[in-house]
Subunit: 302 residues, 2 copies
DNA sequence: GCGCTTTACGCTGCGCGTAAGTATC
DNA sequence: GATACTTACGCGCAGCGTAAAGCGC
């Protein structure tokens, strides 16, 4: 009794009758038989504990209480409608936002093309991209600031609260000057790289971690540890050493240096999709996630 | 499908589950068995076309769409609640307004005491009083500016769109100076008044109309036609004539003039309650209407 | 094994439409 | 008698509770 139930059907019936002031017509509007409609109004009146309409034979009119309720009823229906509309427009991908975190190499590599396709298909969806190193990407997912991440989880990271899915892999490539002896090698192996001055990425980069894991326990002749691939390129170009980088980053190395694929299955960097385990993705995020899987799933880039 | 039905039960179930994140507990909150509650949520999700909760075994959480809907759901419930509360407070006379039109004689006579009683019983109800002549009172009712009127409908007035109910009657009283010959009359009759200089109210006053109707075709010796009873009193007091006024207006004549009842059943003014025929009264107006009938119904004032 | 949700399954009763009733013009 | 709302009545199905079955931990 304290909180009578109220349904949108009742509210619609009420406003229809308030509009038309005729049970028969309002019943048709609500796709009900007239007696059923009558009962619906009667139920509403009884639930509210107030007579809402005067049925003075020949004319139906709102009572003062009915007029009082009318405004509220219309407002409720409108709010209900816009809430449903908003939800529907998100479900139907007319509206929404996806926040994604990705490694800089992916963010600069194939991701833009997928974004473009997605944005063309769903122009109402706003995409937000954080390009960050793997750990930062995963932290963004964990904190809920990103819906999912494209990253290369390090070996030691705790991922029990996350769902990770292998998406695709990057082959690694040798980078050196055109005249370097390794360019002519027919069968490049890790061991053959070990002697040469080697330019590394910093230890927290996914490139470095993948490389360390793949070459372990081989020791390289590290001469530099730098943050940016552009720096690697500059150092190689200056003849100060060689390096090994994932296929996805090769766009940094077009021009004065040469690159050679290292055809080693063990020497691959696996890109993972990372999301929170308990929480599902929004419809929009699912759609982008799906498109990414569709376009890049199980690819190996060389 | 275009406009899914939404009930307050569903919204309450939704918010309960969003709050408690546990089907079993939320079901208890809603006084439902757990399976029934589960089905209720499932129905809602299906109606909205979106999954609202992640049931990831061990933990229930809102999906992104669920979070989107949560705000709207809570707002809807709150608005619904306040609409119901407002309606209830009107029905239960904690809130409201009654606009009443009444003849000045009633407005100054017994009406204030009834108002005082009503306002004491229902302090939340605002009373609005228009004191006006009968025709104006009736016009206010007809235009909806007054809920009902206390008036003395003239003989010729068209009242087919109004519901009138006789409330009570006023006897008429002679008003003259203390030493006047009529004061000693044992049996006052209209004919005995005819010779004396007579002070009339204007023709559109209900006093005058009742008097004219009752005395017809007797011709009085009219020496003044005035608007206000206070003027009548002044003129009588100055010895310029006699007058006849309803019992309700006698409070104007205490002091230097004397009054004598005219014991003629035909010489009565019937006070009517007037309201619109098609439209019912608000609960508050009904309450005041009822109190007025209770206190004054079928009284004859002498 | 325990806690929690879902599935299965009768059963009650709400709410529907048809048809008859009633009242006003 | 025409119109419009209410009452009567039988019926189907939505929605309930009980009981049993998944499913992680």
């Amino acid at each position: 009794m304290r909180t009578p139930d109220l349904s949108s059907r009742q509210l619609r019936a009420f406003t229809a009758l308030a509009d038309q002031r005729n049970f028969t017509h309002a019943a048709q509007t609500c796709h009900l038989s007239q007696p059923a409609f009558s009962a619906l109004i009667a139920t509403l009146e009884s639930a509210l504990g107030a007579r809402l309409f005067d049925r003075d034979k020949r004319s139906v009119q709102l009572t003062p209480e009915g007029r009082l309720f009318e405004g509220a009823a219309r407002r409720l229906l409108e709010d209900m409608g816009s809430a449903l509309e908003s939800l529907a427009s998100h479900v139907e991908l007319r509206q929404g936002r996806v926040r994604i975190a990705a490694l800089p190499s992916l963010a600069a590599g194939w991701l833009p093309a997928v974004f473009a396709e997605f944005m063309h298909a769903w122009p109402g969806i706003t995409l937000e991209l954080h390009d960050a190193l793997s750990d930062a990407c995963i932290a963004l997912v964990r904190s809920g600031q990103a819906d999912f991440a494209l990253a290369v989880p390090g070996a030691g990271a705790a991922l029990s609260d996350l769902r990770t899915r292998r998406l695709c892999a990057d082959g690694f490539h040798l980078v050196c000057l055109p005249g370097h002896p390794l360019v002519g090698e027919t069968r490049l192996t890790p061991a053959k790289l070990a002697h040469w001055p080697f330019i590394q990425m910093t230890r927290n980069s996914s490139v470095r971690q993948a490389l360390d894991a793949a070459l372990h326990p081989l020791r390289l002749n590290t001469v530099f540890e730098v943050e940016h691939l552009a720096t690697v390129r500059g150092l190689v170009e200056a003849g100060l050493g060689i390096s090994v980088v994932p296929a996805l980053t090769l766009f940094h190395f077009q021009g004065a240096v040469v690159t050679r694929p290292l055809p080693l299955p063990s020497l691959q960097r696996s890109v993972h999709l990372v999301q929170r385990k308990g929480a599902s993705l929004s419809v929009a995020a699912q759609a982008l996630h799906g498109l990414i899987v569709e376009r890049m799933g199980n690819r190996v880039l060389d």
